[in-house]
């Protein structure tokens, strides 16, 4: 190992940790060339392929590498939280109708197609412009861009570096949720921990919010797949034997490394546009289903974060500012108060860190800290983290109706895939409260509010 491996966890979360190979994967990452300070893992860490999920690793721009597997297949998978002027009691009677309308109007599930079919020219523009393309075409407002990480666009995107296969897959999936753990939830603010930060974020107790969790769909998976295959062919150039081909990588200073970053930026921009379109559709559905105007609903984007990404950022290392390539694979950026990347309205309190839970467990909003900036390359956890494989989850569900169990807890869930609800049962995930508590106590982000789930649509 070139650097230490550091895992943020608690006694309770550690109990299940030896069961998979997550810790070993933290060690693997610590061997990679040019890694700086430490190979980190957040408390939601679990066994991935190559890099652990919940892993954070930063690399020197000259000596270091970029790894498609360190970003993940779903490039710029992330989430966005939308606040409203509604309160829980305003929609209690209409919740079922609202969830049904969302389920009917937001394409989800395996191989779902969106309402848009992009021309080759439009697709190239999406890949370079990101969310701004959506706003330019009437799917949102300028204010949405301000409240998106990096304003919803990653620089350096070059569609020439994206394969024909990836472009083909991207043509008709814009505005689709996808399947698996992706979701759209109607939530209510249950508890406020930090009144000043909550006020800055425009949150209050009882308020209805919408959380959207999705990514770059088939286009992103294909970009990752293409570049992994390409890098595996030149795996010897790294100069060290890799224990797992999935760790295949290229020097950041090499043509292959640069090509990947340019293609990855395209996928990141596709994902932001996708979430922007999903939000636009959600606004339309709310207006129609509740018979209310945009002003009355006041559906405002609180923030959008990505949690599968590699980014070139300037961060403090041993007292001086250094440009690094930070891989966050299942980790959220958590920039501190005062950082120039934050929208002015949040600059006093820090970046909103959105932590979606597993199905039915609600979500957290935290605020980024200086501690995260200096200790974890400005990163925090990204969710609850799986503990149970999908097959084990399915087995434990035999004879149970998950939809009914959820309904008994007052949560309406609708899913298009037959097995989705079983695979995504709450027991399959780590305890969200415990994961967030670790991050909070370690000072990597501080708790602002907790939201509870009222309704959920899944792929």
């Amino acid at each position: 190992m070139r650097v230490p491996g550091i895992i943020y966890t608690s006694e309770k979360l550690m109990r299940g940790m030896g069961e998979d190979e997550g810790p070993k994967q933290v060690a693997h990452v610590a061997h990679l060339p040019g890694i700086v300070t430490a190979s980190l893992a957040m408390p939601d860490m679990h066994w991935g392929y190559g890099f652990p999920i919940g892993g954070v690793a930063a690399f020197d721009m000259e000596e270091g590498i970029v790894s498609p597997g360190g970003v993940g297949y779903d490039i710029n998978c992330g989430c966005r939280l939308i606040t409203t002027r509604l309160h829980a009691e305003d929609i209690r009677d209409r919740l079922q109708a609202l969830v049904t309308a969302l389920f009917q109007n937001i394409p989800s599930g395996v191989g779902s197609r969106g309402a848009l079919r992009l021309s080759a020219k439009d697709e190239r523009q999406v890949l370079t412009e990101g969310s701004a393309w959506a706003v330019r075409h009437g799917y949102g407002t300028e204010a949405d861009l301000e409240m998106t990480e990096d304003n919803g666009v990653m620089a350096g995107a070059d569609p020439q570096k994206v394969s024909d296969r990836a472009l083909e897959r991207g043509k008709d999936q814009l505005g689709t949720l996808g399947s698996g753990n992706h979701f759209l939830e109607i939530e209510a603010v249950e508890e406020i921990f930090d009144a000043a930060a909550a006020a800055a974020f425009g949150m209050e107790k009882g308020q209805i919010c919408v959380m959207i969790h999705s990514g770059s769909r088939g286009l992103g998976y294909q970009v990752c797949d293409d570049y992994l295959a390409r890098m595996v062919k030149h795996i010897d150039e790294i100069g060290i034997p890799l224990p797992d081909r999935q760790l295949a990588c290229a020097k950041l200073s090499s043509a292959r490394g640069k090509d990947y970053l340019a293609a990855m930026a395209c996928a990141a921009n596709y994902a932001w546009t996708n979430r922007q379109l999903l939000m636009h559709r959600t606004r339309e559905v709310f207006e129609k289903a509740l018979g209310m105007g945009p002003r009355e609903l006041g559906m405002r984007l609180l923030y959008d974060v990505c949690h599968n990404i590699a980014k070139i950022e300037t961060l403090p290392v041993a007292g001086s500012d250094v440009r690094l390539c930070v891989h966050r694979k299942g980790a959220t950026r958590a920039f501190p108060p005062g950082h120039a990347a934050l929208p002015p309205a949040y600059r006093k309190v820090g970046q909103p860190v959105l932590i979606p839970g597993d199905m039915g467990s609600g979500s957290y909003v935290l605020a980024g800290t200086q501690r995260a900036f200096t200790e974890t390359f400005g990163s925090a956890c990204h969710g609850a983290g799986r503990v149970m494989s999908r097959t084990r989850a399915m087995k434990s569900c035999r004879g149970r109706s998950i939809a009914r169990e959820m309904a008994q807890r007052g949560i309406i869930v609708m899913a298009s895939g037959r097995g989705t609800l079983q695979e995504e049962i709450p027991e399959a995930y780590k305890d969200l409260d415990e994961v967030v508590e670790v991050v909070h106590r370690a000072g990597l982000s501080t708790k602002v509010a907790r939201l509870s789930t009222l309704g959920c649509i899944k792929g």
């Binding site: 191989g111 698996g180 797992d244």
Partner: protein, 137 residues
């Protein structure tokens, strides 16, 4: 054809065994499409031939599965049968039969995003070959 699903926290692992390399690739193709869809509803109407190469048997297996997964994910083609014409450690030639997805007739069971290299292996045993591969779902 038999395959076994093994536990992997976030993903789906598959182990296939066969007497020959030819049968191994055919079994791996069956496993992938059996996980994706209800194969009893898929007809073998269209034939396609393809050749895939790799650095070694494990790399070849990943490349082969990645190639046929794209036929579904990218082209909407469901594979019912896979006849392996030639199989060598670095090259495989197959004849695939299947049809284009029809939402009225076919039923998809799962989304498989990608075939990973993670712990991918092809081992020769006394009875033949055993391969393991992890799908990102």
């Amino acid at each position: 054809m038999a395959y076994r699903v093994f536990d992997h926290t976030a993903d789906l692992g598959v182990e296939v065994s066969a007497a020959t390399l030819e049968e191994l690739y055919a079994a791996a193709a069956f496993a992938l499409f059996d996980l994706l869809t209800d194969l009893s509803r898929v007809r073998a109407g269209i034939a396609r031939e393809t050749v895939v190469t790799g650095e070694d048997p494990a790399d070849l297996l990943v490349n082969f599965l990645r190639e046929i997964l794209y036929m579904w994910n990218g082209e909407g083609f469901l594979i019912k049968t896979c006849l392996v014409r030639e199989a060598a450690p670095q090259r495989v030639k197959v004849l695939l039969r299947g049809e284009t997805f029809d939402s009225g007739r076919h039923r998809m069971k799962a989304e498989i995003k990608a075939v990973t290299y993670h712990q991918a292996s092809v081992c020769e045993t006394e009875e033949g070959f055993v391969a393991r591969v992890v799908f990102d779902v």
